[in-house]
Each structure stands twice: as structure tokens, then as C-alpha cells.
Symmetry: C4
Subunit: 258 residues, 4 copies
């Protein structure tokens, strides 16, 4: 994959600042949506790469996603360090984000969740294959801390574990963490939220299809590629844009005003 850094906008400071505000606003809504859609519970987190500096990312302080506000968003470097000192606790697993951003220049948003129907796929040998979610191709690898680091508390709480996880993720969009949860990546906050929600939805479909028994017709890689092609550009009224508006309304209703 070609390394690509996103250039700082040249139209001046106020445009840049507007772009940053937009990303932060989306990130706050993303936290609320992931909670309202039952992808995260009190745990889990979502981040966005800084729109002006590819070596930084934005994420909430250690807080339940359903409660996150603009004031909670902090700036981190790719070693998982805080850019400005802050006394508030931070997520122990921020290295999931820092190392994925380091390894994948194409990724601009990351979700880590314990999405309930996805976890069972992390502890069995049933692969999480796509019925509707084309972005599950080429594959959904499973990262096991046990293989990488022996006995741990399963948290990705160091750069080394983050790096190992990013390596397992490779060029895929979703990786599972055994007995723990998953990581979903995308080119924007809205796309990663869309993917996190439909990763859970696809897991439910697959579980139910397995309960019906017999062979399952999965999405063909060729079909998935065509589906992803249309999702790969922003189209007002379509794709992740359409669901975002709906989910945002529901999320604010459930979790309260911003």
C-alpha cells in the first residue's frame, strides 16, 4: 500500500480549524451512536486521525462512550502519548489506535468494541464471513494475546501489543481479539461507525444462518469488491451518510443532548 499523507489545507487557518471541528463533532456523535446501537456498552472506544497531522489522533478521555462530549476529546501521538498534559484518566488500550494509525496510512478512524455477537466468533473456529458486509473481505483475522504475549489481562495496553495486533489486522478492515472484542477501521469516522454496526449485524445474520443449517451462500469476493467500490466515496443521501442522520437522531434521544 502506498504511503499517503494528507496535506494540510492551504486555504488558511480558519478553514483548517473548521475541518478539525467537524471531525471532533463527528467523533462525539460516533461515541453516542455506537452506544445507542449496542455496539459498545460502558467500554469500547472510537478515534479519528487528526485532519491536519497524520501523526496524531483524537479520542475521548477514559469515559463510557455514551457520555462523551466535545470537552472529553484529547489529542494523542502515535506512541499513545498525550500531546498536552491532562490529569484525566485515558484509555489503557489507546495503543490499538496509535499502532493501527502508524501501520495503515489509509485509515482515518478506528473503533474498538466488545460488540456482543462478534465475540463468540473470536473463541470458536467459525470464521466471520460476509453475508451482507462486503468489507469483511479478504478476511477477519483473530488476534490472540496468548500467542503474542503469553498470560496477560487481554488488554492491548502497550505499544508492542498494539503493533502485534496491527500486524494481524494487516490490510483487512476488521480483526477480532480472542475473548475480548474487535477492531474496525475505515477511511472516516462515518464509515468506521457504519462498519462497526454492520460487523455486528453480519455476525447476527451468520449465527442465525448457521442455526437454520446446511450450506450458506456467502457474498462472493467479486460482489464484495463491487459493493465496497460504491461505499468508497461520499455520496449524500446514500451509504453511511444515510444511516448517520438516522442513528444520530436516535443516539441523541437515548443518551441526551451534546
Amino acid at each position: 500500500m502506498a504511503k499517503k499523507t494528507r496535506a494540510r489545507p492551504t486555504t488558511g487557518k480558519s478553514h483548517a480549524s473548521q475541518e478539525l471541528k467537524t471531525v471532533i463533532a463527528d467523533l462525539v456523535i460516533a461515541n453516542r451512536i455506537l452506544y445507542a446501537q449496542d455496539v459498545v456498552d460502558g467500554y469500547g472506544h472510537v478515534s479519528a486521525r487528526h485532519p491536519h497531522d497524520p501523526h496524531r489522533f483524537l479520542m475521548s478521555r477514559a469515559r463510557a462512550p455514551g457520555l462523551v462530549t466535545v470537552a472529553d476529546i484529547l489529542e494523542f501521538g502515535l506512541d499513545g502519548e498525550l500531546i498536552k498534559p491532562d490529569a484525566r484518566p485515558v484509555y489503557q488500550e489507546r495503543f490499538i489506535h496509535s499502532e493501527v494509525y502508524r501501520a495503515r496510512p489509509d485509515v482515518h478512524a478506528v473503533v474498538h468494541s466488545h460488540s456482543p455477537t462478534v465475540v463468540p466468533f473470536s473463541v470458536t473456529q467459525a470464521p466471520l464471513k460476509p453475508i451482507r458486509a462486503g468489507f469483511l473481505y479478504p478476511e477477519v483475522p483473530i488476534f490472540d494475546t496468548r500467542a503474542a504475549a503469553g498470560w496477560t489481562n487481554l488488554l492491548i495496553s502497550s505499544p508492542a501489543l498494539g503493533k502485534a495486533l496491527a500486524q494481524t489486522l494487516g490490510e483487512n478492515s476488521v480483526a477480532l481479539l480472542r475473548g475480548h472484542g474487535n477492531v474496525v477501521v475505515g477511511r472516516s469516522v462515518r464509515v468506521v461507525v457504519y462498519r462497526a454496526v454492520y460487523t455486528e449485524a453480519n455476525a447476527k445474520l451468520l449465527l442465525q444462518a448457521k442455526m437454520l443449517g446446511g450450506p450458506i451462500t456467502y457474498l462472493a469476493p467479486e460482489e464484495a469488491a463491487l459493493m465496497e467500490k460504491s461505499q468508497s466515496q461520499d455520496r449524500p443521501g446514500h451509504g453511511s451518510d444515510r444511516t448517520w442522520e438516522m442513528w444520530k437522531q436516535e443516539a441523541l434521544k437515548r443518551t441526551g443532548k451534546l
Copy 2:
């Protein structure tokens, strides 16, 4: 099936205009209900044949059904074209509706959804047979874009695909789209909403019956015919009229005022 066109009311323009308003009002509520009942999520759509012109139908612009208002309803022709130019994006899969209206003069409302428990039946060999939903007879055929058009993004985004789907649907009330969703048709907006909700409900019942194991006693075709007979006329306080009132209240509570 005898071709039947619905004559324009002869009691003058204001009656006609009232009838149109009623259909549009029902159509907006239908969008909200299908969302509140978890039949559609951010995607899926519902349409109604134009009450004055069988060669036209009414449907929202490309928008999440849970957010649709009267201002979103547009008029389409049977080639899927907009009757009046409109800058707002439209559903790519409008050809599901146009081609079903063309092929089935008895149909006055169409739902396309990704109803979650129905999708698994589209990718396995377990037929979606009726336990309670008599309208699933004669059968629930499965349309596969792969058979009709090879590798696609699975969307019914052309008249040709819509026509092929309508052909698979035949004289049935429900057809599944492999790895994608389903199409439900009916003689009115209220009936098609009723059917879309109970298609999902029947899928859940059948999945659970299969989990209990052993032979399943399905509704007999003779029983289904008698059930459908009583559903085939409007009866205030009964059938789809009774649930409509309840679902409407719930839907407005969940999705907000019209």
C-alpha cells in the same frame, strides 16, 4: 391475472386530492412504522401506487425511513424516472418498485427491507414457510442477482434487474433477495406494512421452531387461504387496521412528530 386499472374518482378534484393526501399520509407513517418495528434500519423503502394514475408511484427521496416526512415524498413513473425534476438524491433501487407495479396491477404498495431474521433464509436452503403468516403462500421465491446478472453489487439498480426480480416474485406476496433482503407487496400501504412486519415475525417463529427440533406443523394452504380471505377487505377494528393505530402511536413516539 386480469389487468385492472383503478378509475379516477368522479366526484371531482377535491375528493381526488383528498385521496392522494390520505395515501401520502399513510406512506409517511408506513416509513416510520417500518423503522420503529425494526423491519428497516437506515435503509429499506416503501412505496404506494399513485391513487389517480396506475402508471405512477409515490416514494420518499433517498432518506432513512425513520426520518421521512411529507416533504420527502416524490412521484415516479414506471421506468423509475422522476415525474418532476428534483435535485435531491433518489433510491438507487427504485426499480424494485417500478417493475413490480408494472408486472402486478393488483399491487398498490411495495416494501423493500433488510428485515434481519429474513435475510438468513435468503442464504440457506431453509424455505420461509408459514407458521402464522398465510400470505407466504404459494411460496417465497429467492431472487439471486448472481443468477440473473453475474457479479454485481447486489443492488436492484436497473430496470432489467427490477424486471427479473418481479418475474421471480410472480404472483407471490414476498420474495427474498439473496444476501440482501426482501420485497413484500400488498393491495394497500397498511396491508403491505402488516405483511412486512409479520414476514419478519414468521421468520423468527420458524427459526425458533427449528431450534426446538423435530417436524414442524406449518399452516395448511387451505387454512392460509381462509385467513387471507378475511384479510382481503378493510374491516375497521380488525386486521391491519387494528395494528396500524398501535404501531402509528409507537412510531411517532420513537421517531418524533411528523
Copy 3:
């Protein structure tokens, strides 16, 4: 079972009228609770034997239970006839209630629902045995309209079908209607609501226990008898009294003020 008729209170008209008001108030709340607890959807109904006349019962006009108010409650005789003429539509299946009240003097409240996890037990050979719900003993018989009357629309829409169903119910507390729903009976409105909710809950427990596999330890009949003994008297703060207060609050929140 000894025939027992409940004597009209002797403390005068105003006490009698108060007792009637209390039963009607409970009946309205029961409608709302059964909806809010997902035991009924837009269909299903609940009735109470008239507290002053064992040959009459009280039930809503044909309306979705979640919308029922005091003004909807009508009085019926044991032939399913309206005591006072009323232009509003009535439930077609009122004969479930009339014939159960005729056959079972001990019964003072009846629920008919399509409780979703119970229906699968009506179309398979898996008996609905008690894990926690002791009142499922001696047994939960299945009534099949097909055996009783051949091809029908499955509705209990005549005294003859009601009588046949009551016969199948016998001295049990719950009977299933094949491919349709169930009937639950009790000594009061609060008890029948309690039973209807826990019939569904027990069905879910049993379905999940079957999915875990292997032999299941059911409640012993001796244990069930002891459990039912404590439920057979009103105890403020215990049994159905405790849940009623909670469910009532939830139901009014979901369905709106009375």
C-alpha cells in the same frame, strides 16, 4: 371441580360499584402491561369475569391492547353476546373467554395472546414444560382447530370452537393454539397477567436450555405445587403484587397516560 358462584357483596351498592371500578381499572392496566411486556402485539386480548355476576365478563372492544382505556371496556354474556348494544367492533375470538368462563368457575381472568416464544412450542413436538413457571403443571395441552373443525382461518370465532378449546384446556392454566397463540387463565387479572408474562419467560428459558443441550432438570410437580400454594393468596409486596406495580409504571410510560 365444585361449581362455585361468587355471591354479590351485601354491603350495598357503592361497595359493589367500587369493586367493579377496581376490576375495570386493573383490566385496562393489564392490556397496557401485556403490550409493554411484549406478550401481545397489536392483537391479543385480556378479560375479567364480572365481579357481581359470574355469567358476565368484561373486555375491550376490538382494539390494540396497548391503546385500551376505560371507555373501551364492554360487558359480555357467556354466549359471547354484548350485554348492551354497542356499534363498535368486538373481538371475533371473544368465545375463547366466554367458554372458558362457562367451563371454569374458578377462573376470573383470561388472556389470549400470540406470545412470540410460545408459538414455536405449538407447532413442534417439544412440550412446554416448567423450568420456573410452576403453573404450567399438570400440562400445557395443544388445541388444534384442524382436529376440531378441519380447515378454518384458525380463529376461535364461534361458541363451538370456544367450547372445544375450553375442553382441551381442562383444569390446566395454559393451553396452546397450534400456529396461533395461547390461552392463560387465573383467579384474578393480576395473576393472569403474571402467568402470561412468565409463560413467555419460561418458553425462552426452555428454548435456551435446549440449545445448551443434554438433559434438562424441570421443576418437579411437588415443587410446583408448593410454589403455586404461596401464589394462591394475595400478599402485598409479594408475588404478582410486586411485579404489578413495576409493570404498571413501565406500561404507562410506554403506552401513555390512561
Copy 4:
């Protein structure tokens, strides 16, 4: 296990009184959270050991947990007796709490629930092993009233049954009651709520993993020990503190102001 009694604070009466108020406030919220998270329904209860006297505990009068307020909290001794006379009904199963507090000085909070996905594990031979919930080690024993006392109504309604249950619980954090529910213990109200919620969550994960089929990779005891180590101290922003804030907001929204 070394017997440990918590000394009364020496900083005077007002500090002591503040500590008691805090525990009671948490206990009320715990009742609401357990209801809002669907761990308890109208039944079930949660208690806290008295912060000043290890021979007493605090628990609501017999009331649905979702309705409990500060005025409902009563003080009990370790024989299950009320410390001050009170006319209001009390939970029949208070001996679960009294005997666990007697047997386990390390325990400062107890939940008894009928948590829906946990019950099936109590009536089958499938052990409730940890996929994510490390506190399920060493094991989750099953207490059966039938083995302890023959035919009963299954309620733990005497000191003798409470003692037998506490013995089965041993040094574990969770025990199941056959055909009935479970008991969860912890070092604080917040921790026991966390454990009760994740006991249910782990049961769901395990049930689904079993439905996927094949061998399941459970949490290793060594991993569980490391996970529990980090949970064994209060860490603002982490562990049970993080979820508490979220669950509290949701619970008050669902069950009403305190």
C-alpha cells in the same frame, strides 16, 4: 480466608454518617441499574454490608428493584432479622444475604437475580465458564434446594437454606440456584453490579459460542487472575467506575428520578 472486620471510621460521627449515606445512595442506584440492564425483573434484590457494622446489612423492603428509593432501605442483622421494627413486608429470601455475609467477611455486596440467560445453565449440565468474565473462576457451582432440603418452593426462605447455599458458593463469586436464579458477590456495590451484569453477558456469549459449534477457547485461569487483579482496586475512569456512570444515567432515565 482470614477473618477481617472493617473498623468504624475514627474521624467522627459526621464522616461515618456520610459513608453510610454514600453506600445507601449506591444501593438505590444499584437496584435501578439491575432493572434497567434486565438483570432483575420485578423480582431479585441487592444488598450492601453496613459500612460501620459488619454484622448488619442494608436492603430494600420487599419491592420491585426498579422502584426502590432511599426510603425503602432497611437494616438487617445476620439472622435476617430487622434491626428496627417495620410494618412493611420484607424479602422472603433475605437469608441469601445474611448467610453469605456471615460466611464471607470479604463480601460487602450481594445480588440475587433471575438473570434470564443464566437460568438455563442452572438446569443443564453445561458449566457457565468464562469467555470474558474472569470472576467466574474458580467455578460457578450450582445449588439445588432439592439436594439440600427435598421438595420446597425453591425459595431460600430460612437461615438453614441460606447457610447451605453459602456453603455451595464457597470462595467463588457466583453460584447458580437450580431452576431459579443466581447469587453474585463482590467487595462493593459497584463491583457486584458490574459482576451481575457481566455474568448475564458472559452467559449470552457462551450460549452463542455453543451455537456456533466446535471447541471454545475459554479464558485461562492465569488470564482471569490478571484481569481480576486490575479490577480489585478502585480506579476512577476505569473498571466498574466507568460503567457505573453510564448505567446510572440510563437507569434513572428508564425508572424515573430518585
